[in-house]
């Protein structure tokens, strides 16, 4: 191992340890969000991504089964929407066939 490579390795090792603790002390970038279907109110679904994808805010009915919102990972299954006089609705990580606009 040449002197230069040894020096680089030492810099890297030190910086890596510092970087890992820095990254860990700030907001976790990896607590992933997931798409959760069937929980967005009409017109409040997520997604706006340029031409051809003007889908944000396009859901027609409340809790539309094929539109989604980003939620914290693992929280989608816990979403239960209670509306008086209607059966409970659960969130789903996959599109579902309920509350589709006619």
């Amino acid at each position: 191992m040449s002197k230069k490579t040894a020096a680089t390795a030492a810099i890297l090792a030190g910086a890596m340890t510092a970087a890992i603790s820095m990254a860990a002390s700030t907001a976790p970038a990896n607590a992933a969000k997931l798409k959760c279907y069937g929980v967005a109110l009409a017109g409040q679904n997520d997604c706006a991504a340029g031409p051809g994808t003007t889908c944000a805010g396009t859901s027609k009915v409340d809790y539309q089964g094929n539109s989604w919102k980003y939620v914290e990972a693992n929280s989608c299954d816990e979403v239960v929407i209670k509306v008086d006089g209607q059966p409970d609705r659960m969130g789903s990580p996959e599109p579902i066939e309920r509350d589709l606009p006619s």
């Binding site: 890297l12 990254a23 990896n30």
Partner: protein, 260 residues
């Protein structure tokens, strides 16, 4: 379909569709000869032609919302028409349309006095491509924590599919922010800013980075091993702080786990 007066100079849009398609993007082209029928067929072709171009300009506006605010509706539409004539859509997927806008702006003589526009377009394009990029689990500190020190220099970190590093001599970060509203005071156009585009938590994030950071992250993204990228960046930029740059890479989800 014979005898069609397809007088278009570019001749690009008409492939396979004769003069009908060719005439759509160029108002100077005569209404194609095959357009006939009862009253007003040629006028209706004109209406259709206008709808096509307006639709494409709207698509361009949706893809470049910062430029739209910076340039203003009228100028944007005017430049957009030139772009559309030179670069008609090649793919049925509208998200692909507008890909060459930055290069077009860079070479568009009337805008030579505003060289920052092309760099803003590059950043806006990177945002859109990041949005549509494949999902991948980002590299975490835990992935690197167990690494032997002598293995670090040779480590090649694969770029996350959404990653882009945009270096610029213009204040692209401040100009990018125009999509959220025009500021009361315009940015210092002499300032240089570089940007890191990533998509942690499935949401596109644009982070302003220093030039040394951009250089380092760009080298890694291009496949340079960690040791080489570090040495090259330190040689060119003695102020470079490796730990901060690595932390930034981890926090922003710029890379994915190396194979094996």
């Amino acid at each position: 379909m014979t005898g069609v007066a397809s007088g278009t100079e570019s001749g690009t849009a008409g492939a396979g569709n004769g003069g009908f398609a060719a005439g759509l993007l160029d108002p100077d082209v005569e209404v194609p000869a095959e357009i006939s029928g009862r009253r007003a067929a040629t006028r209706r072709y004109g209406v259709y032609r206008n709808n096509v171009v307006v639709g494409l300009i709207d698509a361009l506006k949706a893809a470049y919302p910062s430029l739209l605010v910076i340039m203003g509706e009228m100028n944007f539409a005017r430049v957009g028409r030139h772009f559309i004539a030179a670069h008609p859509p090649r793919s049925p997927m509208m998200q692909d349309f507008g890909a060459g806008f930055a290069e077009f702006l860079a070479g568009f003589a009337p805008l030579r006095g505003s060289p920052f526009l092309a760099d803003v377009a590059r950043l806006e394009r990177a945002w859109l491509e990041a949005y549509h990029a494949a999902d991948a689990a980002p590299l975490t500190g835990a992935d690197l924590a167990g690494l032997a020190p002598e293995a670090m220099a040779g480590l090649v970190l694969p770029a996350h599919p959404a990653l882009a590093v945009i270096c610029s001599d213009h204040p692209i970060g401040d100009l990018f922010a125009y999509r959220f509203g025009r500021p009361e005071r315009g940015p210092d156009l002499a300032a240089s800013q570089s940007a890191l585009v990533t998509r942690p938590e499935l949401e596109v994030r644009v982070t302003m980075v220093t030039r040394p950071q951009a250089r380092f992250l760009g080298s890694l993204a291009a496949g340079q091993p960690l040791g080489e990228a570090t040495e090259a960046t330190l040689a060119a930029e003695p102020e470079f702080d490796l730990a901060t740059a690595l932390a930034l890479a981890l926090q922003s989800g710029a890379f994915v786990r190396p194979l094996a």
